[in-house]
């Protein structure tokens, strides 16, 4: 279910919440501030961005059950697990997607997209295809938040995604040659 991606998202939620709450990064780096679990959970609930996950049925069930565990730091109210009646795959995952409430994106907002670096390159080309009905409202930026490939996966993952990009661009014709313009910083 993308355990590494979800763990990364949870870490970012915590860090972003602390930064938004005005806890200085120096205090974080020196370990000066270490709130209790309940304080941290309240901080995340108030300040963290939403986590959005639209996995397959079983994956969504797993995420929901993890969120119900006692003592967790990520509060369920900041996580939107979205069920879709869809086939497996990246294209079905995005082709009929509409972000549900309470997500209200408007110009100037950013959505951080978390997946492995090679997968992000393909996703960007699939997202760019339906410019007549864009997934993101005008003015909303797509921020790339890639996870690095493992040492042994780096070359084969890049290769397989390059082949898949060719497939979606030239065979299926559901992807663009250039990616959606995302932020790389």
């Amino acid at each position: 279910m993308g355990r590494h991606r979800l763990t990364y998202a949870g870490l970012l939620m915590r860090r972003l919440a602390k930064a938004k709450a005005g806890i200085p990064s120096a205090a974080l780096s020196q370990g000066v501030i270490s709130p209790s679990t309940s304080d941290l959970r309240a901080l995340v609930s108030t300040y963290a961005p939403f986590l959005f996950f639209n996995g397959q049925k079983g994956e969504n069930q797993d995420v929901r059950s993890v969120l119900q565990e006692v003592g967790g730091i990520i509060p369920p109210e900041r996580v939107i697990v979205y069920d879709q009646d869809r086939a497996s795959g990246t294209l079905p995952q995005i082709s009929s997607l509409e972000f549900p409430p309470p997500i209200k994106l408007q110009a100037g907002d950013e959505i951080g997209v978390i997946t492995q670096a090679p997968h992000l390159a393909r996703l960007g080309r699939l997202l760019n295809f339906h410019q007549d009905r864009p997934l993101l409202p005008p003015g909303v930026k797509f921020r790339a938040l890639p996870l690095p490939s493992t040492a042994e996966g780096k070359v084969p993952h890049a290769g397989i995604e390059a082949i898949k990009i060719l497939y979606y661009v030239f065979i299926v014709q559901q992807a663009t040659k250039e990616p959606y313009p995302y932020k790389l910083d």
Partner: protein, 81 residues
């Protein structure tokens, strides 16, 4: 097709570099963005799949890649996940 592949591989390399840079910064308990940038991030969208990214690394991936590269007719395009 070659420019598409070249462009994609270059982009993947840049994304891998970005991922490593972010990882180093986060391990140092910092964030790679300014306060203004942080305020703009409203949603973190976590993609699910494809399964070959799960860890530990799937050793049969090299075989799958070899088959895809092999171009044994159109049926070799089994790349839908």
């Amino acid at each position: 097709m070659r420019p598409v592949v070249t462009g994609a591989l270059k982009e993947i390399a840049e994304l891998e570099d970005l991922a490593r840079r972010h990882k180093q910064i986060l391990l140092a308990r910092q964030l790679p963005w300014t306060k203004e940038q942080i305020e703009k991030i409203k949603v973190l969208w976590v993609l699910s799949g494809p399964g070959y990214y799960r860890q530990p690394f799937k050793t049969d991936l090299e075989e799958k890649l070899r088959k895809l590269r092999g171009a044994h007719g159109r049926n070799s395009w089994d790349v839908t996940d």
